[in-house]
């Protein structure tokens, strides 16, 4: 029996090694390799609690293995164990020691809880986040910019999020930068994050919000301050004037078919902002942006993101579709075109 148990332990051990070595997670959304202050604070607590727990587990496991081997029934021996009632000393011991451990753990917990809830001091960048089924809107009130699906933030500066919802619960999560905060319709929640290094981080919706929940992704681009300012300037410029005939046709189609929802004409069927859509890397927050994918998305959006409110644009002919996608792909400010 003890042999079988050893095998089982070995097996668990092997799984751990495999998990740690073979698949160490992707840095774009790994909690264990944080790229921001909030994530570091949280990882710190994760580590300390894990170490404490592993020590406790090791003690339990040591007693456990010893007991199972030492006191197993051996063949041919019929021993009557002594019927003990308990031991006051031992019982006090394993009541008091855990209490001390937990008190030790409680101090940093409470401190960090308050730290993370504090409004950041100094010149934090304000961003209003709104969660919709199944996309994200990001508004920069200080800069007068509104965008969707792709959040751009400067490095080395705290970003203070004001998180709101209009339909169902969502949860705003950028694993590599820090923990999540729920989007609660009828409430305003706040959270801060910062990114220490420039890079691309993956954002996720973490609260079941309907059929498209799994694909309610967003991207976070952390840019160093000068790149960020460049982006801000670009975002404030008007989109390019359409020059070619195709693009003009595309713009016309866009006005006819898309602007009803995507330009806030009718607030009850609101779709994501498409201003400067050409600057983005993804379609619907989840599909890599290229013309083929864009056509796929337009023709049958719910095949890609189940439950999306975006209707099928399957009534355009090939030429019209080409014009529309070309227009969308180049819908960005002149200064960014090379």
């Amino acid at each position: 029996m003890s042999q079988q148990r050893t095998w089982r332990l070995l097996f668990i051990f092997a799984t751990v090694i495999l998990a740690l070595a073979g698949c160490s997670g992707d840095p774009r959304l790994n909690v264990l390799t944080p790229k921001g202050t909030a994530g570091e604070i949280q990882l710190d607590l994760i580590k300390w609690s894990l170490i404490l727990m592993v020590v406790v587990f090791a003690i339990v496991l040591a007693i456990y293995v010893y007991v199972l081997i030492r006191f197993r029934k051996r063949k041919g021996i019929d021993r009557m164990p002594k019927q003990v009632h308990g031991s006051t000393f031992l019982e006090i011991l394993w009541t008091v020691v855990p209490i001390i451990c937990l008190v030790v753990l409680a101090f940093p917990t409470v401190r960090y809880t308050f730290d993370l809830a504090d409004k950041p001091k100094g010149d934090a960048l304000e961003v209003k986040v709104t969660g919709y089924q199944y996309w994200w809107e990001f508004e920069y009130p200080q800069l007068g910019i509104k965008t969707a699906q792709e959040l751009v933030i400067p490095t080395g500066r705290k970003v203070h999020f004001e998180i709101k919802g209009k339909d169902v619960l969502h949860s705003f999560w950028v694993p590599a930068l820090g923990g999540k905060t729920d989007v609660v319709p009828g409430r305003v929640n706040y959270m801060w994050l910062d990114a220490k290094k420039p890079g691309l981080y993956q954002g996720k919706c973490a609260e079941l919000c309907g059929a498209g929940h799994a694909l309610m992704d967003f991207k976070v681009y952390a840019k160093n301050p000068s790149d960020f300012n460049q982006w801000v300037t670009a975002m404030k410029q008007p989109a390019t004037k359409t020059v070619t005939k195709d693009l003009a046709e595309g713009e016309k189609l866009f006005r006819q078919n898309c602007m009803g929802c995507h330009a806030g004409v009718n607030p009850s069927i609101k779709g994501p902002e498409l201003t400067h859509f050409g600057l983005r890397d993804t379609i619907a927050g989840t599909l890599p942006k290229n013309e083929a994918n864009l056509k796929k998305w337009l023709k049958d959006p719910s095949a890609i993101k189940p439950g999306t409110k975006m209707p099928k644009i399957d009534y355009l002919n090939d030429q019209e579709m080409n014009a529309l996608t070309q227009y969308l792909m180049t819908r960005k400010p002149e200064s960014t075109k090379k």
């Binding site: 007991v67 009541t95 929940h213």
Partner: protein, 636 residues
């Protein structure tokens, strides 16, 4: 409708075949059938078996749902079950496993064991006991009919609003959830009340509270938790029912309602619920470990104290499910510390089990294997529990696969391992047959290894950024290998469960009768035959110590009877419980299909049955003790 008609016709045919056709003696013959005997029974042992079998049935359904989900998640970007279908699977898996598998299996063990352990002839209210079972059964049936009629609920087992409101979940799915759980919940609530009354009032003379077997103690605390935890659920479901069916706005923020209220109500119920399902498993562990170590339970009094404390604290921690809702640092800190405090009594229990085995003589029978497998698994679930209790860390774990791993370690590694231990341990007492030890060991090893392979990698999946309840993940995000491993592990659990099925089948076929005391037991249930006679104890025993049977065996005496052999008073069986439940089932179906006339009919049936019950002159019947005396005399 056509399906319903076919089912009714089929049922009529079956009745005709089983009873030999309709004529003047039709009803007499119906009453002679085994089926009638089972559906009208008020015997706690039979009700226990009914609970257990329905629990296993729903466990299989929930398991199949889990297999489908792991199939979909085995590879990135797959297209087997996406969107709403996947959401239906995950909702029904959670709801089924908690309410329709874990709860009835626990009630099964409670019914089968508690009256025997306290030396009683039945529970305090046998009629209510049957009613509780049938309400649970029809509630569960109603919930699962959603797969056939109109689509299953898809807003998660937590059914958070406003996703669960009509605007975002059109169709009858969530209505099935609301009404199915409401009906099953009434059953659970009255079942809990019944066990509180039973344990307080029906103990044999001398069986003081500090001589109660540990399993009975945990059932007592669990029943108290049910009494206080289920009413908030009832209220929540009622409000949601009004929102969905009668156009109220309790949870619609646009109309001045609040979605957070639902979260509070649900978790004020939901957190105690996890202790409701884990405490009886602790009780099973205490019995099994003590029996197979041949030692008295170490620190019995502190075990009792720890159980009560866990039950008490269980009501003070619900907000740890809501740390990310934005309730502020003060409430998050308070609930964090309260949650951490629960680790202390739980730790006391684990160490007491270890020191029960210390110095004992450990026999690795199948029940003991499950108990021994339980300890490290449950401790791991407890450890991640403490980690989850820290709000800043929880902001990362919350709603990720880390949480999925955690609660499966406590619910499968804790409750299910405990239930399996109890199943193998008390099977001979329930059915009078043994379960194969050899198959049982296969079952254990396959299931345990499969379990760890499935859920251990999920801790890492969560930390690597995978949210829970997602139907897919993209292939380039470092989540592929672990997801595949996790899906492979399911094979182990499925094979283990199939082997359990084989073992059960074989045990029913076997002719060999189980002995009264197959495990060298310590408590009263092992003093009587397996399976026990319908009156359990011919004479109520007189209890002089904890582990009375063990002490009697040590002193080579027998437990003295507390009364002379006299006619034994038994409750009569009744068809009213199943009819009352059927009425509510019809009413529920009416509300779901928005056929209010049908609902009125259903409620009328239930009220009529209650009326009949109120005016029924039923004093039960008496069993003549003479044959028992002769049997006893023959033995001596």
């Amino acid at each position: 409708m056509a399906t319903l008609l076919v089912i009714i016709v089929f049922a009529l045919f079956l009745t005709a075949i089983l009873t030999g056709g309709y004529n003047k003696k039709f009803f007499a013959r119906v009453k002679d059938t085994k089926v009638w005997d089972w559906i009208t029974t008020v015997d706690h042992k039979k009700i226990g078996i009914l609970y257990f079998i329905s629990g296993i049935f729903f466990f299989l359904i929930g398991g199949i749902e889990a297999i489908f989900m792991r199939l979909q998640l085995a590879f990135p970007d797959s297209n087997l079950f996406v969107g709403d279908v996947f959401n239906q699977l995950l909702t029904m898996h959670g709801t089924t496993m908690i309410f329709l598998a874990a709860m009835p299996m626990i009630f099964g063990l409670m019914n089968a064991v508690v009256p025997l352990q306290i030396g009683a002839r039945d529970v305090a209210f046998p009629f209510v006991n049957a009613l509780g079972f049938w309400l649970f059964f029809f509630g569960g049936l109603l919930l699962n009919l959603s797969w056939i009629f109109g689509g299953a609920p898809d807003a998660g087992w937590t059914s958070y609003t406003s996703l669960a409101l009509n605007n975002y979940s059109p169709g009858p799915g969530v209505d099935y959830y609301v009404l199915g759980l409401q009906i099953a919940g009434i059953g659970t609530l009255i079942g809990g009340l019944n066990f509180i009354a039973t344990i307080i009032n029906m103990r044999a003379p001398g069986m003081s509270f500090l001589r109660l077997p540990m399993f009975t103690w945990t059932v007592f605390v669990t029943s108290a938790l049910i009494l206080f935890a289920f009413p908030p659920l009832t209220v929540a479901l009622l409000l949601l029912m009004f929102d969905r069916i009668f156009g109220a706005n309790f949870f619609d923020y646009a109309m001045g309602g609040s979605t957070v209220i639902w979260e509070h109500l649900f978790w004020i119920f939901g957190h105690p619920e996890v202790y409701i399902v884990i405490l009886p498993a602790f009780g099973v562990m205490s019995e099994v470990i003590s029996t197979f170590s041949r030692k008295r339970l170490f620190g019995y009094t502190s075990m009792v104290f720890a159980t009560v404390l866990i039950g008490f604290l269980g009501f003070m921690v619900w907000v740890h499910h809501m740390f990310t809702v934005g309730l502020g640092p003060v409430s998050n800190s308070v609930f964090a510390v309260a949650t951490m405090a629960i680790a202390v009594p739980t730790g006391i229990k684990v160490f007491n089990w270890l020191f029960t085995m210390w110095g004992g003589e450990i026999r690795f029978t199948t029940p003991m294997l499950w108990a021994v497998g339980f300890i490290p698994t449950f401790v791991m679930g407890g450890m991640t529990g403490v980690m989850l209790a820290l709000p800043p860390a929880d902001y990362q774990y919350q709603d990720s696969y880390f949480v999925v791993a955690h609660f499966h370690y406590v619910l499968v590694g804790g409750t299910v391992f405990g239930l399996f231990a109890g199943l193998y341990y008390w099977w001979p007492k329930m059915f009078g047959k043994m379960l194969s030890e050899r198959l049982g060991k296969w079952h254990f090893w396959l299931f345990a290894i499969g379990f760890h392979l499935t859920f251990f990698p999920q801790h890492f999946l969560g930390l690597f950024g995978m949210p829970r309840r997602v139907f897919t993940y993209h292939s380039n995000l470092g989540l592929d290998t672990l997801n595949l491993l996790s899906s492979i592990g399911v094979i182990g659990m499925a094979l283990g469960t199939i082997i359990l099925g084989v073992a059960i089948y074989r045990s029913f076929l076997s002719k060999e009768q189980a002995p009264a005391d197959p495990w060298d037991g310590r408590t009263l249930e092992w003093t009587i035959a397996s399976p026990p006679p319908e009156y359990n104890f011919a004479q109520t025993p007189l209890i002089r110590s904890y582990d009375a049977f063990w002490v009697a065996k040590e002193q080579k005496t027998q437990i003295e009877p507390a009364e002379p052999l006299a006619p034994i008073h038994m409750p009569s069986s009744s068809y009213l419980p199943i009819m009352m439940s059927l009425g509510l089932f019809i009413a529920g179906f009416g509300f779901i299909t928005r056929g209010i006339e049908v609902s009125i009919l259903g409620v009328a049936i239930t009220l009529l049955m209650m009326f009949l019950r109120s005016f029924e002159q039923d004093h039960g019947y008496h069993i003549d003790p003479r044959p028992i005396r002769e049997e006893k005399g023959a033995k001596v």
